[in-house]
Amino acid sequence: MDIKELLKQNATDKEILTVLESMHSFDIISIFDELSEEELKRLKDMMSTEKFADVISYLEPEDAAEMLQSQSLDEQVLVVQNLEPDDAADIINELSKEDRLELIEILDSDEPVMALIQYKEETAGSYMNNDILTVDAQDDVKDITKKLISSAADLKSVKTIFVVDDTDTYLGQISLKTLVRSKVPLKAIDILKKEPNLNVYDDVDNIIKHIKHYGIYDIAITDEHDILVGAITTDDLLDIYRDEALEDIERLSYLPDTDVKSGVIGAALKRLPWLILLMGLSIPLALITSNYEAILTSVVILALFQPLLLDSGGNVAHQTLAVTLVGLSYKEGVSFKDGIKEALSGLIIGFVLGILAFVAAYILSDMLGVASPLHVSIVVSVTMFLVVILAPIIGFVTPWFLSKINLDPAAASGPLITTVIDIVCLVVYFGLATVLLGGQMHG
């Protein structure tokens, strides 16, 4: 029986609770959308604090903050204590300023979440968890197992045990798997494995590069003195990767954050700024074209080939852009050699497309009875050739340069590249036309 029907049929709290307990929290939040406000409130009130905390940890932090805010302050504290510190920190950071201060005020200062809310968004510190199991290098297998059993109830995950020395410096980690198969008198120092770790200030791009290179495991997070301060666990890593991948695609396709649900008008408003910006970027094109009106008036057919040239340049540049962006997301980055390869491939593509453009332009202008079809087709094909050669170079240099000066290459490259290519294309096109066809202007 599903929750929705139970609610409709006025089932008792006990009946509903039994069903709730048997459901995974992720499945519970997926029905939230379909419930009325009263129904939602009823569910909220009947859930135990532990269940409520688990459920809201699966929501987007903004939505979770809204749910949390509807509770009394004392309840909020209990919920926060039941949340994993990294989730709690995300949610607290989404609360309105007054609510946040109020809650922080009454939270215990040694509550693990307090150490986490200081970190900036999208840094390792903001993703990490700090209630991890740490043992001393000299502890033997028996000590470790004892520690594990006594703290397992308080910690969400102990599948990795972190090993530190007496100054809390990170030495390595022991997987639970290794631990259960080790025997005394082995000590932590004998069975630990030193895995690459990250710094608490590393940003999300570094985290992504790290997991793409080293794979996914519980990553130790240290401060600038190599002191272990927390860890990012595998389940969070997958979410981080997914969010970043989604963001890449959104930026490439001029979209706002699509994870947040909104109504038609809200969504339209959020997508509009990009569209307006892009419209603004097309004004220089009109300006350039207006300078060549004389030649356009006498050879109107030139206007018909304009979309072909602009599209081809844009397409080729975006192909290079995608290759380069994917390359930049790896630890190795991109090298100058890749740029050369892209430029050479542009040369080949430019040659082929140039020939095609020549033939098409000749046939079409002949059909339309243009005075000098040969000249028109030379102008079209030479422009095509030059633009397609130039496109990969611009498509490579732009993201490469942006990443060098620490700007996000995915966000800015697209429009920047399109604009540059379009401008170059029109100047070459109409410039060539004026030189080659200018003679007939007044004829």
């Binding site: 794979g215 419209m279 995608a322 991109v334 080949i348």
Partner: protein, 440 residues
Amino acid sequence: MDNIQFETSLVKLKNQLIKYHPSDIASLFETHESMRTKIYEALGVKLFKNVFILLDDHVQVQFFDTLNKTQQASLLKFLDTEDIKDFLDTLKMSQQILVISLLPEKTKNEITQLFSYEVDSSGALSSPHFISLSTTLNIKQATHFVTTQVTEKDEIDVIFFHDEDQKYVGAMSLQSLIIARANQNIEKLIDQKYPFVYATDSIDIAIQKIRDYDIDLIPVLNDSNAQIGVILSDDALTIMDELHIETISSFVKAQTLSDTDSPLKRAMNRLPWLLVCAVLNILIVSSLSGFSDVLEAHVALILFQPMILAMAGNIGTQSIAVTILKLQNQPQVLKKDVFYELSIGILNGAASGLLGAAVSYAFLWILPGSYDQMNLIALVVGLSIFLSMILSALFGVLTPMILRKFKLDEKAASGPLITTINDFFALGSYFIIAALILFT
């Protein structure tokens, strides 16, 4: 990493290498072609297998060929079954048979089993290295089994359970097994709502569950509910990464993105789409060339042609991307999704149309030359932007939907076909509206 000394004894090289992560050694192995054999010999096969699975496909094949039969067999012995399958996937049929003949009998059977599932199904990508215990065991027996009987290859972070008929029952984390008290009833500790997938389910479903339910491994069941394998979150990451790169490449009409391809190969790879785009573009132009009188009479129209094409293209890109992302999470686009995108198209089309009209009027007014019928041209530009943006937004959601309906890859929608359709309708509406308004 750069300061590794190769000109030294194998023991000393090994001591230098083991300080590094296998991923780093793999990069080193790929870039130092002449040192490959030496690295392999220094590490020994047991450590080398961790590096081998991280190498690029072609380096794997290339290096494997340089080993003799005994070396090959011993390397294969140390590899996990699913890694052997990955490796086999990169080989040609004739070589596959050769490699399979080197495998121990047990692995051979496991491999045959994996190959029996459809490509990209959860079964084909699963690993047979998992622990499944009977629910009749008690805590002590279970713990004993886990601490003594498992091999290094087995995944034991989560332990699975089956009943007397070998049917899957549920799962328990190693953590809960360790902290359980000896007298606790094991069946009470088993999580029966632990998510699972069927072998025939697409791998995307498995990945989505791993992500949504925050789990490290997901069990894979056959159609009689017996467990045949597990999928690890590490594999989920690899597959998500592949899907992501595929999506990005499809957005820009580049086929595959590999940094090792030569310029000629890159060019050949991309030319087909570019040619299709160019040819379609030429066809559009030819079909619209009848409107050249309109353009001749009002050259100002040419000025705003790129703007109209760009605006239609941009909103089309947005609506396709939203739809493709949506289709990664749900089986089909719903009617309400179509209306949602269409309404956004109307709203943003109207906003952009108004702005476009204002911009074009202001533009013509500022320019030194004198233009006839400035207000009419601005009207044409505004209306065309409005109309073509609505059409583009609509095609952006309909094309992936139709492709999905015919079981084609919806990502192809972002290819040249839709761009061309958008161009056609954008230019078409521009010229027709111009002819109607300016010639009456």
